[in-house]
Symmetry: none
Subunit: 227 residues, 2 copies
DNA sequence: TGTAGAATATAAATAATTTATAAAGAATAA
DNA sequence: TTATTCTTTATAAATTATTTATATTCTACA
């Protein structure tokens, strides 16, 4: 797993950190925390977060100085979270490289939306996560499978089946489990379906369908993708 | 001086427009103004502003709808200026493509700073939103499609459909998603519309409509533009 | 290690579903 | 009005799912 979705929180108030930790992780982000400016700079350099939430009122340093230090090399979004509400503070922060500025107390839903905006903008053209297995690539988001860069024509069921197996690479999935996931509860006995579709998939996906390297049979149990 | 620094203000309150006009021109920006949503869309398409300031409470249309319409082709920053202060409104606007959201009354210095942030970030965003696929070009701003330099005559629905698919090149879009985007929530069951329009589009866009290379069918799922 | 029985693979036939397309009628705008 | 676009209907064509039949491979056990 990469640090791709990590957000760094630099704030000395433990309650704020706790609140943000709960809110952000509930929304699928990983969290990294620091309670001082110095610590924050170290964390930023080591964890490479996709976004930093920075409090201006830190105990050991002026928040603006931390902001400037970060901006010497950190190009991703920085959102300021501060009790200071003067126009001067806001302008100063924004002109020194902050992407957004929210005053405490803040509304968590709004913060989340502003985080989404910032991340959206920092990714130019976002590429989908792609599962790669040798010359085979599976793009779950765009629903496409390529083999040596050629798009494979899979039916909707074939794609679901391949995706289910690939997402569980190396794990043996029982017939029952696969049937339940793809066809639903009423089809637990239809192992022949599975055989027909597996043969179909192998014909399209494997170099030599008779000697499968990706779609492996576990006789009497189920199927396993890869090693 | 070019039009490169023009900011478009879409707001029905004349006092606000006057205030912004004075403030912004004092800071070196050129101004373009519109008092209705319809007018705003026209101004945006003709003056190509570097940034748009949009009021949500327009007399002739819902501001969010104007925002969505703009975002079909306008890639530069849009800052919302609104009296509405509910978290719901803010989240909704930000999630529909707004870059920032300020509530009236606002502080002019802060607005200027947020404009600077937005413009700073949009540097590097390509200027004219024209999608090119072989001999086919789609100009999202002027709503024109050319094939081998010949302008194709598309109806507005046909254009929206083609643009939606092209903007998501290589991605399979489900029937439901396309219907929701083009016709709205009430039409999720009307897959036959889609078929009729896709046939229509292929007749106009493809070299051989019977063997489409751009407008591909994913049976049982939806459609995909290109590979 | 050889063999019977069970499990699996695969092709091919048939059924069901989905899609393409033309064309007619309805709504809308110039 | 007239022309354009949208919506509906009908039907042919294509694709996909399911069933059937048969060959092959695997596993347990003598």
């Amino acid at each position: 797993m990469t640090n791709a979705e990590t957000i760094l929180i630099i704030d000395d108030e433990v309650q704020i950190r706790r609140l943000l930790e709960i809110t952000l992780s509930a929304n699928g982000y990983k969290i990294s925390e620091a309670s001082t400016g110095k610590d924050g700079l170290i964390h930023a350099a080591t964890t490479h977060p996709v976004l930093i939430i920075l409090d201006l009122g830190l105990p050991d340093a002026d928040g603006i100085e931390i902001l400037k230090k970060l901006r010497e090399w950190y190009l991703k979004p920085i959102i300021i979270l501060s009790v200071r509400n003067s126009e001067e503070d806001i302008i100063h922060a924004l002109d020194n490289g902050a992407n957004d500025y929210l005053t405490k107390p803040f509304r968590t839903g709004e913060l989340l939306a502003r985080i989404r905006v910032a991340i959206r903008q920092s990714q130019g053209t976002s590429d989908d996560p792609i599962l790669t297995f040798g010359s085979l690539t599976i793009d779950l988001a765009s629903h496409t499978v390529r083999k040596k860069n050629e798009i494979l024509k899979l039916t909707s069921t074939e794609f679901s089946l391949l995706a289910l197996l690939a997402k569980n690479e190396g794990r043996v999935l029982t017939h029952q489990f696969i049937l339940k996931e793809i066809w639903g509860m009423g089809y637990l006995e239809q192992t022949q379906y599975l055989r027909v579709f597996m043969a179909q998939l192998r014909k399209k996906v494997e170099d030599d369908p008779a000697k499968p390297t990706l779609l492996n049979t576990e006789s009497g149990i189920g199927y396993r993708f890869g090693g």
